[in-house]
């Protein structure tokens, strides 16, 4: 999470974020159609049928590896990105901020720690570029994706793995690890979708994730020149309250369902010896709700790109000089665009 007064991604990272979302969602839809096959029988058919679903999963997995294989070195080689690297490294203040956040939630602290503040009208010089929650998201997703890619590659051809380790059990260990890590990531992405799509300042989507920094109207001059960050000019959409409540419930149900299913399921990803229960209607509904939340995330990701295109078009139209178009009778006519939505 970035402060409202900061731009968020570079042009390349904006593109990477959208493509990452697309590949990760395809991986979820194909992977969990298989893992929760009893509940998501319909999704297998949609994702390539029983003979195609794994091919699509592996193609998306390879795309993810290629994508991150390009982006990570690019970020490390680009000086502007390297200079920001320090901002995402964990610091002692993050621990202090977390402890203070817990106290704040319990009513034992008057305010949130500066390293936990994201919006709330603080200026860029009053809060770090990224809060401890934002750092957490970056590092948790990085480690999860890395481990998922490695374990995914290892179980790509099981016969090789069996021959290499001279053991079949090691394959099941990697398979279970891959599946359970996927469940953890699934829960994280559901929360991430809710966090960035339903914050009152951003609802229905945090456009800064889709708009390169260079096009984000932000302020990096002398903060004393301005009283506020301009947050008071934001107006909440009327649908925010009910949409957030509904989505909040769906996210909680989705997260709890996939977690419970992973614990209760016989076989994959948890071995039969640890099984507690077998199928249920409630669990089927819950897991489908979880997949719906992911679908909302994918739709919001696409919608963010639509908003970016719309915003850029509006800016171009505002910056375009007034044109004189000769009419058919030879007289000149002036076409002037009215005020756009971006003026609001």
């Amino acid at each position: 999470m970035t402060n409202l007064d900061h731009g968020k991604f570079s042009r390349v990272t904006t593109m990477f974020h959208s493509l990452l979302a697309l590949t990760v969602f395809i991986l979820f839809f194909t992977g969990y159609a298989i893992a929760f096959n009893t509940e998501l029988w319909w999704l297998v058919e949609l994702m390539g049928g029983n003979q195609g679903v794994l091919s699509i999963h592996r193609l998306a997995g390879f795309a993810l590896i290629a994508l991150t294989g390009f982006w990570v070195p690019y970020m490390l080689l680009r000086s502007a990105s390297r200079s920001n690297f320090r901002s995402i490294l964990p610091a002692p203040s993050d621990v202090t901020a977390f402890v203070q956040d817990v106290k704040f939630a319990l009513g034992r602290a008057d305010e949130r720690h500066p390293a936990a503040r994201q919006f709330a009208g603080y200026k860029a010089d009053e809060v770090p570029l990224i809060s401890y929650i934002g750092k957490g998201v970056i590092w948790i997703f990085t480690v999860e994706l890395l481990l998922l890619m490695l374990s995914g590659l290892l179980i790509w051809r099981k016969t090789w793995l069996i021959d290499f380790y001279d053991s079949q059990s090691v394959v099941m260990a990697f398979v279970a690890f891959h599946g359970l890590l996927g469940v953890i990531m699934l829960m994280g992405v559901m929360f991430h979708t809710f966090e960035h799509g339903f914050h009152p300042a951003f609802y229905p989507v945090e456009m800064k994730a889709f708009l390169p920094k260079e096009h984000t109207p932000n302020f990096h001059g002398d903060p004393d020149d301005h009283e506020t960050t301009g947050i008071e000019r934001l107006r909440r959409k009327s649908s925010w309250r009910w949409a957030t409540n509904v989505m909040g419930v769906l996210v909680v149900v989705g997260i709890v369902s996939v977690m419970m299913a992973s614990l209760e399921y016989g076989g994959y990803p948890v071995p039969d010896s640890l099984v507690f229960d077998e199928g249920s209607v409630l669990r089927t509904i819950g897991i489908n709700i979880g997949i719906f939340v992911l679908l909302v995330g994918l739709v919001l990701s696409v919608f963010g790109n639509v908003l970016r295109a719309r915003y850029m078009r509006q800016r171009r139209e505002r910056e375009r000089p007034t044109e004189r178009t000769p009419a058919a009778d030879g007289s000149g006519s002036t076409r002037d665009d009215g005020p756009s939505e971006a003026d609001d």
Binding site: I34, N50, Q51, L54, K158, T159, P271
Partner: protein, 224 residues
Amino acid sequence: MTQDESSGQVMSQGVMSTGEGMRIFPDVEACIDCGGCVVACKRTWDREIDNQRIDITTMAEGVAGPQGENADKTGRLAAGENPGETSLPMQCYHCENAPCVSVCPTNALQKEDDGFVSVHEDLCVGCQYCLSGCPFGAPQFPDSNDGAAQIFGTGGIMDKCTGCRERQEVQKGPACAEECATDAILVGGAGEIADELEARDSQPFFNDEAMAIIFGEEDAQLFQ
């Protein structure tokens, strides 16, 4: 029926009973690695040349047992001694606690009411988890070199020994067991197989863990 001259015991043919509740189990003392079972299976089910629903694994090849080639392999194995060259018909044993059924994410592998473990082809996604779950090498992937399966490294549809279910439903034994010249593939109830091995003065080749998988905890006690 044949007469075992050395012991005077009466031995059954390999197939003792068929249909519901049947078990398939190898007698390694009897197997001579002739390949008859492999040919019978291929011929009966018209399998491709590289798809073997039953295969004979030979261990300690060329190593003679202390009392000749076929002397008391399972007894020596149980005593922790070298059993010499041992051939083992490997196929699907339609396990009571089938690990393949347990690990299959799509329920393509199912333990049927009559005891057979069957593959539902319309549910199999070719993930090959059964390959890593089965201790006996039963799952085969004959389509793994075709089309998308070859490009993406998925297994295609899994294929394995069916226990000749259709044959058993009409009171015929599995093709491999019927064809076996030395009656090394035993088919029948757990009790019948245990009694037959005892009559032959033979023991199971597998350890206790594998026996519990194949026969279940309770029936595995019959072989103690």
